[in-house]
């Protein structure tokens, strides 16, 4: 695992701000880590309307011209596991202490100077462009390294390969980036759904033990997939399902691209870059060997969750864990309500359409000319309104329900991460116990004068001492990472929610304004009867 933790942790910086305060957005956060793309990303949604794609990309693009590539970027460690990566200097949430850790990071002067030295590109105008398209006031944790690097990903409409049961859908992934590790600055590739799942599994295996929060995995859907497979070429594939899936997959990739640990991950890079088809990931299907293994593992994990009780010395984790549990439950409920709203709105669109049809029929039957015309225009007005309701139902889904769902999954992933920490703690404790046992054995040997056994046990003791030291280090590292991750997560969540829900409100507004127009246009018709 990681090498030595950065020296900052020894610094006696303690700003005792308890979790209950507002996130103070005015604090100086320069030289903080995660890249701006993170917050930019979270304001994006996948909209069925193609024209909005451009707006989203605008938000994503930190600096449009590609000429501000930083050629002098430091040696990027390909292994995101290296916590001592220069760029990923965790901020000083302190050692497990009784005080709750500040929700806002504290500026570290040392870090700042080091990074600024490395950064060749002037940061002034960049921070301008960063702040310009914002609707929110969140203070971005600007890593001078990262903020001029972008990794834009878009997923296009899938197309079908093959026919019948053996067919599958491929999605075209288009990437634009200025990050040097990538071979090209613009490239595309095709991937199928199981490739995404495989990527997720790999990243999870690698990063979960480090305490990283993974973005929600794309969901399997047997029925939807079967329908798509069986749809003949001439028929339109179930559009809803495909659009929802494409949108979810795109969000998945975007969240990965926005997270520092993942964007440099070689698995991720391969996923994006390799132009050939990836080997079919059989281990993602439920009935495969790997699938079985996973099931076993999850069962043992559940048992462990119940069995292992960790003595929590760090109040921060205790409180945070409680908060996460609560939020998870609340958002889950909210999500089901949001979906409910979406369904009813779709129904409203359908029933409005029906009404507009019968009104038009009635208009035909009406013998008086003016009234007939008024009725037929009423039918037309309602037809327009039903379209508006349909659009609204889409917003309900993509801007509201899906956002909440993503976060429910993310909260679940966080719970996973917390559990990892407990497991790590368990490991450490076990090591300690083994070490203690060995020491006792040694003492026994010495006492009973079995001096020949001593060297062997000494060797074992040494071995276990280093193991224990490492286990402790792992635990401390994961604790630190988690705090970092959660801090960023909290900030991002606030931003993403605000941006996306504001966008949702804007669509509500637009739709209402259109409705007003429809009725205002219609009014003179009625007066003319």
């Amino acid at each position: 695992m990681a090498s030595t933790p950065p020296p900052e942790t020894d610094e006696p910086q303690t700003t005792e701000v308890d979790l209950g305060t507002n996130i103070d957005l005015e604090q100086d956060l320069s030289a903080e880590k995660p890249a701006p793309p993170e917050d930019m990303f979270f304001s994006t949604i996948s909209d069925p309307e193609p024209k909005k794609q451009e707006d989203m990309d605008e938000l994503f693009r930190l600096n449009k011209p590609m000429n501000e590539v930083n050629l002098n970027e430091p040696e990027e460690d390909d292994d995101p596991f290296s916590f001592s990566n220069n760029n990923s200097s965790p901020k000083p949430p302190n050692e497990p202490s009784i005080q709750p850790v500040p929700a806002t990071p504290v500026a570290d002067v040392k870090e700042e100077s080091r990074e600024e030295a490395q950064n060749e590109v002037a940061s002034a105008n960049l921070s301008e462009s960063l702040k310009s398209p914002q609707l929110y006031t969140r203070n971005i944790e600007e890593d001078d390294e990262e903020k001029d690097k972008y990794l834009e990903i878009t997923l296009s409409e899938p197309h079908k390969i093959g026919d019948g049961m053996g067919s599958y859908m491929v999605y075209k992934i288009s990437v634009k980036t200025n990050i040097a590790v990538f071979k090209n600055q613009e490239f595309t590739t095709n991937r199928r759904f199981s490739d995404f799942l495989a990527l997720f599994e790999r990243l999870k295996e690698k990063h979960l033990p480090a305490g990283r929060i993974l973005p929600p995995a794309p969901e399997k859907d047997v029925i939807g997939t079967a329908k798509v497979k069986m749809a003949k070429d001439s028929e339109a594939s179930p559009i809803d399902f495909l659009e929802k899936r494409r949108s979810a997959l795109e969000r998945f990739l975007k969240r990965l691209a926005a997270h520092k640990a993942f964007r440099y991950d070689p698995y991720f890079r391969d996923f994006l870059e390799i132009s050939d088809e990836l080997p079919k990931a059989n281990n993602t299907s439920a009935l495969s060997g790997a699938g079985m293994l996973k099931m076993f593992k999850s069962v043992t994990d559940s048992v462990t969750k119940i069995a292992v009780k960790m003595e929590e010395t760090d109040q921060w984790f205790e409180e945070k864990s409680r908060q996460i549990e609560n939020l998870y439950a609340q958002y889950k409920k909210l999500h089901s309500v949001a979906e409910y709203l979406h369904t009813w709105r779709k129904d409203l669109a359908a029933s409005t359409k029906e009404f507009s049809k019968t009104t038009a029929i009635l208009a035909n039957a009406e013998e008086q000319l003016n009234l007939s015309r008024a009725l037929s225009h009423l039918g037309e007005a309602y037809e327009k309104i039903d379209q508006i309701y349909l659009e609204q139902a889409n917003s309900d889904y993509f801007l509201f329900a899906e956002l909440i769902k993503d976060y429910v999954c993310l909260f679940d992933n966080i719970k996973e991460v917390f559990f990892q920490r407990i497991k790590t703690f368990g490991n450490w404790q076990k090591s300690e116990e083994t070490l203690k046992a060995k020491k006792e054995s040694k003492a026994k040997f010495e006492a009973s004068n079995k001096l020949d056994k001593v060297p062997a046990i000494m060797a074992e003791i040494n071995e276990w001492e280093s193991k224990t030291a490492k286990a402790k280090e792992d635990f401390e590292q994961i604790s630190k990472n988690i705090k970092e991750e959660i801090k960023n997560f909290d900030l991002n969540r606030a931003t993403e929610f605000k941006t996306q829900l504001t966008k949702y409100l804007e669509t509500l507004l637009q739709n209402q304004e259109t409705i007003v127009k429809v009725w205002e246009q219609y009014l003179p018709e009625v007066k003319a009867i």
Binding site: N22, I23, L25, A103, L135, Q323, N326, L327, Q330, Y331, K333, L334, V337, A338, Y340, L341, W344, R345, D347, L348, S351, T352, E354, F355, K357, T358, T359, I361, L362, N364, A365, E366, E367, Q368, N370, L371, A374, L375, L378, D490, R493, A494, F497, K498, L501, T502, L505, E506, L508, L509, Q512, I515, V516, W519, E520, Y522, L523, V526, K527, I529
Partner: protein, 399 residues
Amino acid sequence: MDDVFEETKAERSETVDLNGGGNGDDFLKIEISDALNEKDKVKFTVKTKTNMKNFSSSEFSTIREHEEFIWLHDRFVEFEDYAGYIIPPAPPRPDFDSSREKLQRLTEGESSMTKEEYAKMKQELESEYLALFKKTVQMHEVFLNRLSSHPIFKCDSNLKVFLEYNKNLNVRSKNTKERFGGFVKSISKNADELRFINIKETDEFFDGQKKFLTDYHNKIREDCSRADRMTYVHKSVADCYIRVSTGLSNAATGELDPLSKFLTKLADYFETARKTENRMSSDTDLKLSDTLRYYVRDSKAALDLLHRRTKRLSDFETENRNLEKARKNHKDEKNAEQAQQNAKLKFEQISELARSELSDFKTRRISMFKKSLCEFVELQIKHSNAQVQTLRTLLQEQA
């Protein structure tokens, strides 16, 4: 549950005055000043103000139940002299079943929602029930007013009894025999219809009217049912908003500011929005659906008129044939002649009346649609604008 649905009194806020001023001594103003829902029976307090001579006093009131209104309607339908008129359609039976069902479902689901949510939804249901109640009162009142404003109907003796007679009219709802009788009647009516197809309608006007009205009646009925479905779904969307609002406030409590504040604001928005959406839906119901509904019934009444006329036409033709037969056989000629003359007279009378009634029907229809549609569209604009305002202010605050 019971305390709300029973013992409900509705305040009469507006009266439909079709009298247009009350002149001379044929002023007859009827209003339902009060209504009580008691154990599944609705009791209407019918108050009359009049200066007509045939009434024993100038102001009086009685209590009537729905069945008595139906009794009155049936008397008008059966009276031969009124055959040439469109009889105002009877008011629909007060039906609170759907509200009751909804309340049932709500109480069953009480455990799955928060106290707030439950209270809000219950309140929604109560106001819905109240609105339904007001509507049924209005329907009954409109029926009476159409009678009271009609120059001939207002003098009807049955109407007088209905308005004045203080004791129960003892109109029991049709027992099995009568209901069966009614059923048989409607079957024979349908049989009549089939017979009447063979009767040649020489009059273009009536032919056209029949075709038009039948077609119109069917189509407006379809439209009305679709409108009802649409308003029902619209209301459900508004109800969803309640739950969204609660969900958001609950989430807000677990979050820190500024996200917490934002979510709370959003929750408030949904709470406000749902009231507006509700109003939009109920206005659609009141102005649009109700107009459609009324003309479903009125067009049926017009069709009934045409049916009666056709019946007389068929009687006339029968008498004609009888007369021919009598003339051939030189038997009973005088009687047959008399019968034929009567039938002819009746037929001509009804045709004349029907003609004016039908054109009246058309005028009424056009003006009512115009009025209702105008009000409807204006209300929709008002509500939509309110929504736009709320959203605009909310977004400005966020910016």
